[in-house]
Symmetry: D3
Subunit: 245 residues, 6 copies
């Protein structure tokens, strides 16, 4: 079972963090192709950077399809490029934001999301609505730590995330928490123990969902919305990346 | 990994059908406790029968918890007793209707549900709304075959379900299909090949979701809505079934 | 005019309290069959207890139908068993939560619900959505007094409910209040005078709705969703309670 | 018990038809003040005519308040002037569209509305959303008979309404029907017998709801949205009608 | 290009304030017919006054149509009479509440509305839902200054509105603000500079929208909902105002 | 007044068609910078192509900002890159899909969208929900003509679009139509005359909205969601296009 685990940004440290989180939960026999795009943005904290990352996701989904990957995971909480990836792939594609929300909705009545920068709150809110979880979401809050500072001890990331989680449980009424960044994937167990409620990391959930779909023989529908895109003559980066599909 | 696979009705044939569907997808090392309640209703096609089945689900969730099951699956498309089961269980609990909808929403833009009797359409519609999939559901239709007639060749179940699925794809715009009864769990692959779109069976999806949650170390939140119920002195069937928790 | 006034729990004191609330508002010529199930749970504060109470509701709806009751009222704010009762009954069936919300929506722009235990907030929220009142509901709050402590002076129930109501008016913007427990049915007038806004008790509203439907000659639709359930051979408690319909 | 039964249009025949429908269901001791405005429009089939009728409703609500009416009913399916009437009245105010929808939602899973002219479909749709019944409404259809032609045998009103109702049950999945015009208030029983499902007339439902609120001692909230309007010096028709409140 | 700029209340000072706001933004060649009704209410702060103002709007829309106005603007934040005006007019009709919400939704992710009296909050909330902006609205708050006191220095209107706007940005998460009264139309630029976010006034937005529709050759649809009203014989004020259409 | 009119695809013929549609409606003194990206895709009919076009939109928004453009228009009905463009721009940004929906909602009760390929129906549906027009949209249908075939007489584009529009009015109940492709911008007047209802083209509406915002002095909010993106070191195409902001 070969899973294409794509970190949409270009930071090798993030790719490794994501790889470890996936490795910890995947079942016997699963192989992970843990990669990041050859070019793009070191972290994703804006709509602009989601657009940049989307081009890298397209590149790596195509590469993964050629290698026969049986599922693709997009390991950034904005799920950048998810629709385009589903269109390009025969295999199923899973974003970690949707994965986390699906998991959380199986565990409790209301989840809250704790994410990095305030400027990304609108993105998470949009996904909550797009995926249908508006009534299940108790709140979305930000700790205002940049993605690449999460592993810098000076940021006190764990303490600030813990505090935001506690407020979500006490004040928003959440019974389940979602960590809104792939860079937080190493914190969920420690937080869960401290809080006494489930804390969901999207990377590990996405691996489980990918295995589920593969074992059930389910893949992206090629009728209607996600049919393979028509063949056309692109120019620029798209010509190099996509044309020879 | 021990999974409590509960058929909420009392028909042994259904339990076996569900068991086979689960067996076909579960990964190495998973053990299934495939059971049905000691008493109840032979099939579930009304609100009344959902209420009867709920008491059997409670009985079997309690039994499964005592045996150390790491997840519970409720294998009836109405997800009877799901909230009560989550309250009673430390382990995660998954209904096959929610499992099917979560799976389907990862595979396409719109799913349709094909179920048994028209009288149950309102139940499925209620679940679609409760779980947040109203915008993702293209339609719900019934073939008007009773649950226990599905395996009777005279019912022409396969042909009628196939036809309803084709209408869902052509007329409702569905790109993914959900089989709305555990008793259809043996038809999804054949239908998928005939239709050329993914056909989701909730039993197999639920097994995959259960494995995912177990591997991720995630379980039902015990804060707020699903906290263990208060201890009280019940009378009647509840006294026998529940009191000695 | 004979109305079947069912207290879904087994506490005779609650049945009496409900009976008095109904008696105070019913018009000349109305007879109340005020009952509780022969077995079940002394109060209803969890999904588990709703499941237990549902079996008692089924028992008493069947009994009431045999006696020729012209309407059934389910006097617990979770409306346990409402769908099953509608299926079983020819006469109309009304839950007190829905009754209270329908009443409140005729009196103001926004209502708030004040209920007993925090653990039941999710249940009330679910009903608000199911019945279509999400935009009309300003908030739901709990005083964290158990149902059976409401009439214990040590609980200071009146004072704590009054305070929660005041917060609902001042902070949530409610102009109308709903008491979220049949056990509060004796408090609405006193609260209304203290607050200066309408305070709705579901029991009295349900009696008025029942009279309205009876006088209008309206009864539960037997087409589609609430058709009589199919006849089957049940086992266990259901066999004793239901089979001889 | 004095109820102010206002026909918002100026046709005496309609006022009499409404009066008879109310008389048939009101309980012993209820007195009806059945009136129409002194000036306005002979029927209401446009937004313009709703605006005209609203000024007549205001006139008659003020008159009814002065006479000590304990409830006001607005007997036109567009509920014209409902918000203004609630503001002006101490007593509760009920529109027959909302009354019909509340009743119907107690009787089945889905209702359909059958109304007069196609041009009013948007009005009914707006009310369905405003009152929170969007998920409960299976459809709205028009027979394209003008209000004042309903009692003209040449219009074949009964036959055409019956046919529209049958389509609503068979094709839209409705289990309950609502007659979308006060002028149809004499048809509901005949239709119900022919169709085998409940057919709701808003006038009789509104009378029952008014009695319910009066017996429960409930009245329009005077906090926030429906507080009495500020006293001002109006000119024109408003000066004559309203100023001396 | 002739635009009918209707102040729905009867205060000449408000009409002049609205006229100046429109004049400041309209393009070369636009002529404004800035008027108010011949009779009605000096300001609009209740449902009753919206009903009064609606009759004046009808009068002035008819007058404007006769003069060949190419668009009508209703310059009161409750958009009183909008539906009736659309029905009566061949030219397009724009309310300033909808104009402001359309504008604001092009500028940011979430807008908040700051309005005059608390009693009107429900009206604004209704319009937010009716126009489809519920997910885009971060909040609605009132400064509790009566419309006709806005230009009285003793009311400290600017300071109180500024404070409410700041709270909307900091606490509600708004990135854009809407002034919820035509009488605030002279404050938006000063507030925008102080706050550092766009502050939308509905009058100027409505002028721009009117010009847009006129240049695009677009006008109110006369099919279905907004077809011209049927000709009837009205009595009272309607006879004088409308009959000779 | 300088407006940046961006055709997101790379077909010069489309750019010219869009330019002419804009020229026909813009007011005196407006200058149009009508451009397309230097590289990308010749037409946009898939999520993949939206991702490609987004990178071209980013390029041209940056170029337009440097030239002092006072508004940006994205002239493709999928509004590709709208959020990223708003983030990058100080000036307001308008997509033609949102422009068309805002216009249409001012003209009638319900609009329908007629677009090119069926595979893009899901994209339009997503925008309808994102922009808040779900209740105002009567339907979305496709004529299944590729974008670049619209001007090929063999495609019979006008006839097939006319037929789809007629069905929308008759069967879906639409009173207003939206043309779902910038390549149809030359058809709206002819269609409107044939149909007798308003037919909205997004390009001309967007020009009018841009003028409106410019005259009102309104621009994209730089607080919260659309603040300028953080400065980072990108690699690949993004480095060339964006880094020197």
């Amino acid at each position: 079972m070969l899973i294409n685990l794509i970190n949409p940004n270009t930071s090798p440290g993030m790719t490794e963090c994501i790889h470890q989180a996936a490795l910890a939960v995947c079942s016997h026999g699963v192989q992970l192709r843990s990669v990041h795009p050859t070019q793009g943005t070191p972290s994703i904290e804006s709509y602009l950077e989601e657009a940049i990352a989307t081009t890298g996701v397209i590149e790596q989904v195509i590469a993964g399809e050629k290698l026969g990957c049986q599922a693709h995971i997009l390991a950034c909480f904005g799920d950048p490029g998810l629709d385009a990836a589903r269109e390009l792939a025969q295999a199923p594609v899973i974003g970690i934001a949707e994965a986390a929300m699906h998991s959380a909705s199986l565990l409790g009545h209301k989840f809250s999301i704790v994410t990095t920068l305030s400027r990304t709150l609108a993105m998470s809110e949009h996904l909550v609505h797009k995926y249908g979880f508006a009534q299940r979401c108790a709140g979305i809050s930000a700790v205002d730590i940049a993605v690449l500072d999460l592993h810098n001890p000076a940021s006190q990331a764990y303490e600030r995330i813990l505090k935001a989680c506690q407020q979500a449980v006490e004040e928003q009424g959440a019974d389940t928490l979602i960590l809104g960044c792939a860079g937080m994937a190493d914190l969920n167990q420690r937080l869960s123990q401290a809080l006494g409620v489930p804390v969901v990391d999207g990377v590990s959930s996405a691996v489980g969902l990918a295995e589920m779909l593969i074992r059930c023989g389910l893949s992206t529908s090629k009728r209607h919305a996600y049919a393979l895109p028509p063949q056309k003559c692109y120019t620029g980066w798209a010509a190099e990346t996509i044309n020879p599909i």
